[in-house]
């Protein structure tokens, strides 16, 4: 698996020397930078609008708004949940990543794939599963006559979010392990350290950047999560925001700003902790494969533990959704599965394509026209990713209504509640995920071959499409798959922005399970699971292709 998402943020830092050498003597490509500029405006405008309306609305009662015990409690809850999920994903992902890179665990490649599968299970589906399985009248009692605990509140949120966010940490730590020069461990051994001491003194510190990248992804996802915490009834900032949206919009806007600040603290913290700590390999030595650690008799208990983990993270949601599918529904609740699937596709497919196209233009800019302008535009796309969905949605609603006032006659709407707005919001929110694979593809393709085509008489555009574009196919497919995978699961944005009749699969699943209509929710759960699993498969396939191509090269 490509260190998929971890590239997203890492990419911002890895301006290669080759790029820097080619600094901007060429004229700035205005046409090429248009999509990136649109993204920049698209993210800055709503956020500044949100800020100004919040300030105007506060009317000097800001202290009262922010110092409510409920606000502080939600803030504490949010930080607590972020910290707890971070700790638990690390505790799970660290040994798992070590096992699939450094041990003689049987079928390591298969585990590397299987352990990414929880990506296909959105957090709220996990929460729905836990809620419907446990308790004195849950699935486990009905099927097995064993009463499983019914996790709610903090514990329930922690478990759901841990299982859901595990792959992000796992993927980054795994590629972190793979990047460590194995001779560091050997050097420590030759200097008198035992295997464990060598691991902790020489290797673990090398994982720091990978850990930070994974940690940022995890905390941003926990901060942005709405589905899990609302189903589990744990009042974090996002629950507070959504709850107050109906009753007190200024307060909601301030909660959104608070969430933005928290996201800013996380991103800033990562940058700060990473400063001066780029542990690239010192010299380009030949990486030798380390002898895998022998697990001995432990290997079977370890395999068993991994199976148990996967059962809870993937098997349980699938089984319980399948079980509820067979249960009688209440009859009158008719949700159009087809319309819902179509709504999801109508939003997610254009979003995936547009995001990938924009990512391509941005990748070309940073590769061929490096400089502060390219960097700034790229950084802003990460801002869209870091902005919690509810905050982004709220800001978009505000700016859309404001824009409609200018654009169309009173009583009419053009942007507000339009499909285009949802697609645009999704694109902004997930653009960063598309950048990684496209960028890697561009770097691998390089510019030499295109230059060769130019010297053979092709124009710049023709040369690009004849030479570089075909080499990018894998990267483009991976980008689209990543965006689509996230978009199909997206809940907060669609809740605030969806046009009439655009109830997506995710929305229906959340809405029905929020009403505890588990049998009704099951088909939507299974659809999301199935589609996501297919796209996780596409991602893994793209990764394997890229790898085999690299080996041939």
């Amino acid at each position: 698996m490509r260190p998929a998402r971890q590239i997203i943020l890492a990419a911002a830092r890895t301006a290669t020397a080759a790029e820097r050498d080619r600094s901007g003597v060429k004229p700035w490509p205005w046409l090429l930078s248009l999509p990136g500029l649109a993204v920049a405006v698209g993210i800055l405008l709503p956020l500044s609008y949100l800020l100004t309306t919040a300030i105007q609305g506060a009317n000097g009662e800001l202290g009262d708004i922010l110092l409510r015990p409920k606000t502080l409690q939600a803030l504490l809850n949010t930080f607590g949940l972020c910290a707890a999920v971070l700790a638990s994903t690390t505790l799970l992902a660290m040994p798992a990543a070590w096992l699939v890179t450094r041990s003689n665990l049987p079928l390591k490649w298969a585990w590397s794939i299987l352990l990414v599968l929880p990506l296909a299970v959105p957090g709220y589906l996990m929460a729905y599963t836990l809620l419907s399985v446990g308790g004195s009248y849950g699935v486990s009692v009905r099927l097995l006559e064993i009463e499983a605990p019914r996790l709610t509140g903090f514990t329930g949120s922690l478990v759901s979010l841990t299982l859901y966010n595990f792959p992000y940490m796992f993927i980054t730590l795994r590629s972190g392990f793979l990047r460590i020069d194995p001779s560091l461990q050997e050097a420590a051994r030759c200097l008198g350290d035992g295997p464990w001491r060598a691991f902790f003194r020489a290797e673990l510190p090398q994982l720091w950047p990978a850990f930070l990248a994974g940690a940022l992804l995890v905390v941003l996802h926990v901060l942005g999560d709405f589905g899990v915490v609302s189903l589990m009834r744990f009042e974090t900032l996002s629950v507070l925001l959504y709850g107050s949206l109906a009753f007190e919009q200024t307060y909601a806007a301030w909660v959104a700003i608070l969430m933005l600040l928290v996201a800013g603290v996380f991103v800033g913290g990562e940058v700060l902790l990473l400063r001066r700590r780029r542990y690239d390999r010192v010299t380009p030595g030949t990486a030798r494969l380390l002898d895998p650690a022998k697990l001995g008799w432990l290997r079977w208990p370890v395999v068993l533990l991994l199976i148990v983990f996967l059962f809870f993270a993937v098997g349980l949601p699938a089984f319980s959704s399948a079980y509820w599918c067979t249960q009688p529904t209440l009859g009158f609740v008719t949700r159009d599965w087809g319309a819902s699937t179509a709504a999801s596709l109508k939003i997610c497919v254009p979003a995936a394509i547009i995001a990938t196209a924009i990512a391509l233009t941005m990748g070309l800019m940073t590769q061929r026209f490096p400089g502060w302008r390219s960097r700034a535009i790229e950084r802003l796309s990460y801002a869209g990713y870091a902005t919690p969905g509810l905050a982004l949605g709220l800001a978009m609603v505000g700016v859309a209504l404001w824009a409609d006032e200018w654009l169309v006659e009173a009583g009419d709407t053009l942007i507000y509640q339009s499909l285009g707005l949802v697609v645009f919001a999704y694109t902004l929110h997930f653009l960063a995920e598309a950048i990684g694979p496209v960028r890697t593809g561009l770097l691998q393709a390089g510019v030499r071959m295109e230059e060769a085509a130019r010297s053979l008489g092709r124009g710049p555009i023709s040369a690009f499409f004849a030479i570089t574009f075909p080499l990018l196919r894998n990267g483009l497919a991976a980008s689209m798959a990543l965006v689509f995978l996230s978009a199909i699961k997206e809940l907060p944005l669609v809740m605030l922005l969806r046009p009439a009749n655009y109830d997506t699969l995710a929305y229906n699943l959340w809405d029905l399970s929020n009403e505890n209509l588990y049998a009704e929710a099951a088909p939507f759960a299974l659809t999301i699971l199935g589609v996501s699993a297919v796209f996780v498969g596409v991602l893994i396939w793209c990764e394997r292709q890229a790898k085999s191509r690299k080996m041939q090269g």
């Binding site: 020069d181 001779s183 560091l184 050997e186 050097a187 420590a188 051994r189 030759c190 200097l191 008198g192 350290d193 035992g194 295997p195 060598a198 003194r201 020489a202 510190p205 090398q206 720091w208 001066r276 700590r277 780029r278 542990y279 690239d280 390999r281 010192v282 010299t283 380009p284 030595g285 030949t286 002898d291």
Partner: protein, 368 residues
């Protein structure tokens, strides 16, 4: 129960820092051994270079000595420490053998002084820092203590790696291609420092390289490996002048290899009758260094040869001369210049060395 040991008694290591005996290692799934019963010893103040073509097992041998690979069989002793025999396998950290990696393996998260101090475990931090600083001085590093290793040049990184390996007070140093990532000027300087260091600290050093020139100029003794086996060990001049086999002859410097029929101290070869270095009878393989072959325009015993190529190298000249099916290299200093196409007669100026034929027959008739 293990089978009876082949070597129940450790070999005598008096005067040797490190001895290995019949060390063998086969990778799982490989048809042949990567290291095939290799034995040698290293003394204090001595540099032994392991040379051989890539894939010959020299790095595996070095790693096996350090304990980074687990050999299947054999015996390793460092000073009075038994590192390995049939029943024992001492973990690398318990062997007290210093190792310098090809890519140096400096810890990128630590500063220079922290890297050098890494292997020191006893005493206060101040004491350890003092020892580390001393090790740095010994390798000629001054005032870089608090730099990050990424900020150092390749040569400086190399010295840090040396200092780090030396700091714990080891008397045996294993070096895996230590100069391969450096440019040639830096290489020469570092070789000299290494030689001084070995003399000054009375170290025993095993150095792996694929560069035969480097091997010859730095080594007290050279060990030539091929396909996991040790072919010949000895001081560079004796290996150069008396190669035991055709492979050793070709690997250390250029050589004209030819087959001949020996009769006493002479042999009949395609270029005529040549003197050989020992008494022999029947078919033999001979090695004649390019500087031991010359030619002139005067008619000789055999048919004339043709000059096909001339390489001017400043202080000497190398001619490629075609005779029959084979091409011969002739190295001369000064004298008159011959042109390509000139017909000449080959004349050996020194006795040819009788070598074991361990190359393919087809390769014999061609010189590089």
């Amino acid at each position: 129960m293990r089978l009876p040991q082949i070597h129940p008694e450790p070999p005598d290591i008096d005067g040797h820092r490190l001895c290995i005996e019949r060390l063998a290692k086969r990778y799982p799934g490989a048809a042949t051994r990567a290291v095939d019963e290799v034995s040698f010893c290293v003394s204090a103040g001595e540099i032994l270079t392991l040379v051989g073509p890539s894939g010959c097992g020299k790095t595996t041998l070095l790693r096996s000595i350090a304990g980074l690979e687990r050999p299947d069989d054999g015996y390793v002793r460092h000073g009075n420490t038994l590192c390995q025999n049939a029943d024992t396998f001492l973990a690398p950290e318990k062997r007290g053998i210093g190792f310098v990696f090809q890519d140096y393996a400096l810890f990128p998260h630590l500063s220079v002084i922290q890297n050098v101090r890494f292997g020191l475990r006893h005493g206060s931090k101040k004491e350890r820092t003092e020892i580390a600083r001393e090790a740095m001085h010994r390798v000629g590093l001054h005032g870089l203590e608090n730099r990050r290793v990424q900020e150092l040049s390749g040569g400086q990184q190399q010295r840090v790696a040396f200092a780090r390996a030396l700091a714990p007070g080891t008397d045996v140093l294993l070096l895996d291609e230590p100069f391969s990532n450096l440019d040639s000027e830096l290489r020469i300087g570092l070789r000299k420092s290494l030689q001084e260091l070995v003399q000054h600290c009375d170290l025993g050093v095993i150095l792996v390289t694929h560069d035969q020139e480097e091997a010859m100029c730095i080594a007290d003794r050279i060990a030539v490996m091929r396909d996991g086996q040790l072919l010949q060990v000895g001081p560079p001049p004796s290996l150069y002048s008396r190669p035991r086999s055709a492979f050793v002859a070709k690997f250390l410097g250029n050589s004209n290899l030819m087959t001949g029929q020996a009769q006493g101290n002479f042999a009949d070869t395609p270029i005529g009758r040549v003197q050989i270095d020992r008494h022999a009878e029947g078919p033999v393989t001979l090695s004649l260094r390019p500087e031991h072959l010359s030619f002139d325009m005067q008619a000789g015993v055999t048919t004339p040869a043709t000059i096909t190529l001339r390489e001017f190298k400043g202080h000497d000249l190398t001619y490629h001369v075609r005779h029959g099916e084979s091409t011969y290299l002739i190295q001369t200093t000064g004298g008159s210049l011959y042109d390509i196409g000139d017909a000449v007669h080959l004349k050996p100026t020194s006795a040819a060395v009788v070598v074991e034929d361990d190359l393919h027959a087809s390769a014999l008739d061609q010189t590089s």
